[in-house]
């Protein structure tokens, strides 16, 4: 088999590389936050919504869906986790555990 044929077949086997990646967020009830559910591939936003509906909402329990192009997300770099997140951990006064949450307050 010559190189071109191999390349062609490899490409055919990896359609993943052709469609953009989307991140999916689902909301379970009115007022609840949209939470990250996972990701999927789709050619455009409408198809991403439809695929999200089928992949993440078909078992029910979802009242709203967001899809976001994965390329639109700016992420922190795992390699810098130390300097980025640690400074907050050793300053107890920054933490809210000294406050009592009034009874009857929900969703906190």
């Amino acid at each position: 088999m010559n190189q071109d044929v191999v390349a062609e077949q490899t490409e055919a086997l990896a359609p993943d590389s052709q469609w953009p990646l989307w991140e999916v967020f689902t909301q379970s009830e009115q007022g609840a936050p949209h939470e990250h559910a996972g990701s999927l591939h789709a050619a455009d936003a409408e198809q991403a919504l439809q695929n999200a509906r089928d992949v993440y909402a078909r078992r029910g329990g979802v009242i709203s869906l967001w899809v976001v192009p994965a390329s639109a997300i700016t992420a922190s770099s795992p390699g810098e986790n130390g300097p980025f997140f640690d400074p907050g951990a050793d300053k107890a006064y920054r933490h809210p555990q000294f406050y009592k949450v009034p009874r009857g307050v929900r969703g906190v």
Partner: protein
Amino acid sequence: MTSRSVVPAPRDSPNVLFEYLLRLGDDRLVLGHRLSEWCGHGPILEEDIATSNVALDLLGQATMFLRLAGQLEGKGRDEDALAYFREVVEFRNCQLVELPKGDFAFTIARQFLFDVHAVVLLDALSRGTHVQLAAIAAKSLKEAKYHVRHSGEWMLKLGDGTEESHRRLQRAVDDLWRFTPEIFAADDVDRAMLEAGIAPDLAAVKAQWEALVREVTERATLTLPDDVPRAASARGGRTGAHTEHLGHMLAEMQIIARSHPGATW
């Protein structure tokens, strides 16, 4: 099988509603099975799940229509008996739904042509006079509205996509078009349903269907073939005259149930 497909139509069936429900149920049972053949073979994982989902919806709708048919028939046949223990000439689906699944373009074009028809028909049935049938139609309509959104989007993507996707979809539409008149060919059963206020006038359904199909195919840059005149005497799936493909499909679909009658899991 060809020789058997000339069994006379049960024109004077004692239970016209039973006949009508078989048509609704069999369309969905057969199309659902055809679509399920993509399971594990979809062009991409997400689409594999989507088509399987639609197939399951159609199977669920078939279950409801056939269950009601069995109850009205009153011979103790439930939906499983009707699905798995009838012969090919007893099936009442239109020929459109029994054709092999073809390539993805063919599958999408067929789903689209069927889905548009389903939305228009179910909407009318849900306002019909038969309470149980109307309830099933209302439940199915919700699903059908999503199905047409799915297949309609694909029509636009493939039709107005690459040169190859356009060519394949146009060929699919060309191949499928001659099977569409059968869906709207009203016979005595349809006329009885119309008179009873249960089902709509198929001519009106066809007009709505065609307007929607034309709108989407134009946007998809496709050309609809000229209508093929259909002889009034033409027989089709509604009276048990099927293409050679249905028998093969049923053999595969029915073999487990027939090999192990009454099995449960």
